[in-house]
């Protein structure tokens, strides 16, 4: 009986349920409040910037001039014609997007700070904003940054002669142009930071709602030219991140600067409006995909033209290459693609910068590929399931045309499971009957894989200046016999404390409640990369397992001394070290002896370190959805949502299903509801949650989840990551289902979110007399 595989209740929950969690805003009570003056214009020259006329003595006004000597945010990529765009912490002379922080006000309370903010005298000379990719790519367009010609900040090109040949000779060429509109990850806790100066040591403690505390410390120390060891970064309870909280944002650098220069505590608690307009956006992409197909549906070649609107700057450390280059490298998805040509460009505009959001580009490429498959099936006259089955990778390991290695997975099997669960013939009969009554039901499928748990090699291949990837874990047993595990990963809702404790408990023969996972504090944890990219359970989990195994070796050696047995014959079980003759010693007693009677033992220490840096693995899933579309209103109702997923070994099924459900909900939002909308002048029209419209319990259906567990040797624990998968499949599956429902009108969904107005416009156009 192992702890891994059990739906253990989360250790994180009781404090959160009692309202005793500690989020950044809770820590900030009593600090002086910082508010940022944000640019009202998308593009322009700062003509004048003057403090409020009646500044009280206890207020501060901070501009670029104050930060003189601070470096610029300038993450690097050494490949893909990357143009290293620079972002000043506070701009001295130009603004580049609506919402960009221009100056900071400090006051004793938030109310006073906002009064002062309104009284700042700012004059900006407006210039024409380039808001859309069309604007920015138009020949002769002005440049967002002089360094990036044609407003292209990054470009990947792969051209294959085989692909050209495939397209010339293929009997069927199918093309689709897709558009994914801009998203905001919208964690329920917006960004927040509190920098506190410690007069005794001269150090600053930055408590912040972030996913990568170590990286943030490095980034801020570099910007401010301060010793990194003078800064402690704590990620306390973090109210969701989904990628948005990875980046080094200028606001945090200002907080640390203030704490150092004004020797006090300074807090910025972002409001929702700021978060919606000025944190980080994502998935503003347009792709043109072409597939060359044989008569039997075999895919012979794939061409992709990928455009991603990356906004005005490049987020540190992932850079603005993260979206276009992921689409570029991973487009073949789970399919056998023998030849591939692609071009991917990251386009600068006067909009909020882009940063990763759960799944990054995969929801978009899955939308593209799965729409292409459905369109090809129709064009060739074969079944949508058959064309997928024909092309899915079914022998492993598989080397993709873009150089990735697909490890053991269940692409065909998850599809087959979903198809069996759906009973498609019965659905078709129901669909036909409904159509006869003027009701439109549709069924959509999406098969995809998700690259997870990748370490250094994957990031190095992108040419990143800062190469994330490894994780280090320090493990130690206290004299009382509890285990302290210090990790560099930084969970924010994923239940990692529970899942990792399960892994460690099994290796040490202890109960999980004897395992304390310590995270989110640069003073107390080894350098690591935080939580993102479905990596923590795989990479930190692998390191935890190795660290626990190393500690187990020490415990067995000590037990051998106590029990006068050979170390090899000792097992750790149920809290005891047990020799083969049945004699045993409680592990807690052993721990006390090793610490306090080191004269009896060889080696007195119960501490170990382990690291893990895997090449990566691929989770996979098939999503299937049945929708009903109201042709009169354009409203889409999800009748059934089915996920068959394979993330390898499931450490904690309760937590795993929660990740899938949360991801699917965000995917549904992406497919049907959420969109950041800019006006032509670069102002944002979706500045409240009533305009950006995240879905509620009324819109998210029950999600049926089925698991497969393909244990691949690509990870130490057998677990593949699953943090992002839910969000990846939903847009494609839903778009396919709506397209199926509206087939009588000849309508196909190529633009998401497929909001009622968009669907109504398609229906109106289809019904218009030609």
């Amino acid at each position: 009986m192992t702890w891994v595989g059990r739906s253990l209740r989360r250790f994180e929950d009781p404090a959160l349920l009692r309202g005793e969690g500690r989020f950044t805003a809770d820590v900030a009570i009593g600090a002086r409040i910082v508010r940022f003056l944000r640019s009202p214009l998308a593009c322009g020259r700062i003509v004048s910037l003057r403090p409020p006329p009646d500044m009280p003595a206890d207020a501060l006004f901070i501009t670029a001039a104050d930060l003189n000597g601070t470096a610029t945010i300038r993450p690097m990529l050494h490949r893909f014609a990357y143009r290293p765009v620079e972002q000043a912490v506070l701009p001295a002379d130009r603004v580049h997007f609506v919402g960009q922080a221009i100056a900071a006000i400090v006051a004793p309370t938030a109310e006073l700070a906002e009064d002062l903010l309104e009284a700042i005298e700012l004059e900006v000379e407006a210039e024409t904003a380039l808001v859309t990719m069309d604007d920015a790519l138009r020949p002769g367009a002005a440049l967002v940054h002089g360094i990036a010609h044609g407003n292209v900040a990054v470009e990947g090109i792969v051209q294959s002669a085989e692909c050209d040949t495939a397209f010339v000779s293929a009997p069927h060429v199918v093309e689709i142009a897709i558009r994914s509109h801009r998203q905001n990850a919208t964690p329920m806790e917006a960004r927040a930071g509190c920098a506190a100066y410690d007069r005794a040591t001269g150090r600053v403690r930055l408590t912040a709602s972030v996913q990568m505390p170590h990286m943030l410390r490095t980034g801020i120390a570099e910007l401010l030219g301060m010793p990194e060891s003078d800064l402690q970064v704590i990620a306390p309870d973090v109210g969701g991140g989904f990628g948005q909280k990875m980046a080094l944002f200028p606001e945090y650098a200002v907080l640390v600067w203030l704490a150092r220069h004004h020797r006090g505590d300074f807090a910025w608690i972002e409001d929702r409006y700021e978060n919606l307009i000025a944190s980080a956006h994502s998935r503003d992409q347009a792709h043109v995909l072409r597939g060359a197909f044989a008569d039997d549906g075999t895919l012979l070649g794939l061409e992709a033209d990928i455009l991603a609107n990356v906004g005005a700057f490049s987020a540190y450390p992932t850079t603005c290459g993260v979206e276009p280059l992921m689409a570029f490298a991973e487009y073949p998805g789970p399919y056998k693609v023998p030849a591939y040509s692609a071009r991917a460009r990251g386009v600068l505009t006067h909009t909020c910068p882009m940063a990763p959001y759960r799944g990054v580009s995969r929801p978009v490429i899955t939308f593209g590929l799965e729409r292409l498959m459905d369109r090809a099936a129709k064009a060739i006259g074969i079944d949508a399931v058959a064309i997928r089955r024909r092309n899915l990778v079914d022998a492993f390991p598989h080397q993709t045309v873009t150089g990735l290695t697909l490890d053991d997975a269940s692409y065909v099997e998850t599809l087959d499971d979903a198809v069996a669960l759906l009973d498609i013939p019965a659905f078709r009969a129901r669909q036909a009957a409904a159509r006869a009554e003027g009701r439109y039901l549709g069924l959509g499928l999406a098969v995809f894989n998700e690259r997870t748990g990748y370490g250094t090699p994957a990031f190095a291949a992108r040419g990143m200046g800062i190469v994330p990837g490894y994780e280090v874990v320090d493990i130690a047993m206290t004299p009382g016999g509890e285990v302290e595990v210090r990790i560099g990963a930084s969970p924010h809702g994923q239940g990692l404390r529970t899942a990792l404790a399960q892994i460690v408990a099994d290796r040490l023969g202890l109960a999980p409640d004897a395992i304390r996972i310590i995270h989110g504090d640069t003073d107390r944890t080894p350098y690591g990369w935080g939580s993102f990219a479905s990596r923590a359970t795989v990479i930190s989990g692998g390191a935890c397992q190795t660290a626990a195994d190393k500690l187990a070796v020490r415990l067995r050696a000590a037990a051998a001394t106590v029990l006068q047995a050979r170390a090899e014959e000792i097992v750790l079980r149920d809290g005891a070290a047990i020799a083969s003759n049945g004699s045993s010693v409680p592990i807690a007693a052993l721990a006390r002896q090793v610490h306090q009677r080191s004269d009896l033992f060889e080696g007195f220490n119960l501490a170990e370190t382990a690291s893990y840096d895997p090449a990566g693995t691929f989770s996979n899933a098939c999503h299937a959805v049945i929708v009903e579309v109201d042709a009169e209103t354009g409203h889409v109702r999800i009748e059934r949502y089915l996920v068959v997923e394979d993330a390898g070994r499931i450490i904690n099924p309760l937590i795993a299903d929660g990740q899938v459900r949360g991801g699917v909900a965000q995917g549904i939002a992406n497919a049907l509801f959420e969109e950041v909308i800019y006006a032509e002048d670069g102002n944002i029209l979706t500045g409240t949650l009533a305009d950006y419209t995240p879905p509620t319990a009324a819109e998210i259906p029950a999600i049926e989840i089925h698991h497969r567990e393909t244990i691949s040797d690509a990870t130490l624990t057998g677990a593949k990551g699953l943090g992002e998968g839910g969000s990846i499949g939903a847009p494609a599956a839903i778009a396919n289902a709506i397209s199926d429902a509206l087939a009588p009108f000849g309508i196909e969904i190529t633009e998401i979110p497929a909001t009622p107005p968009r669907i109504r416009a398609l229906i109106r156009a289809a019904q218009a007399p030609r």
Binding site: D13, L17, R18, G21, A25, D26, E111, T186, G240, A690
Partner: protein, 169 residues
Amino acid sequence: MSRHTVAFTVNGIARRVEVEARRTLAETLRENCGLTGTHVGCEHGVCGACTVLVDDVPLRSCLIFGVQAEGASIRTVEGLAAPDGALDVLQQAFQDHHGLQCGFCTPGFLMLGTWMLERSERLNEDSLREILSSNLCRCTGYQGILDAVRAAARTLGRWDDDAGISSPA
């Protein structure tokens, strides 16, 4: 800005605070009473993270001012568990059914759920989903929250098994 002294009870304890007229009840609870369990997710009345019970009715505490709470009896998430920290039925159901991930929305859902379980009408599938759609959660996809409140309603005898028909208690 004028300052006012306001008196109310929070979780049964009498409080007297001095606040500016424009300070929201959410900030009054957090800043003036030190009760940081009530979270602020939007400050514009959409997310429901700030939901508290005022005279036994759920209200978004970001939409009323502290001064409006004069004489009121307020309940917040801090008042749900027993003094020794033992979770109440609803809190325990949230843990059992994975009704929270990051926990930021949780206090608001718990207060809304507490009211749902105290109402005279029993809950059914329709009212469960409809009322819980008042608040936003970004992590769970809502399933765990629905499951938790349903389970707590069953435990407390507040569940009406005839879906779609709500009967008086």
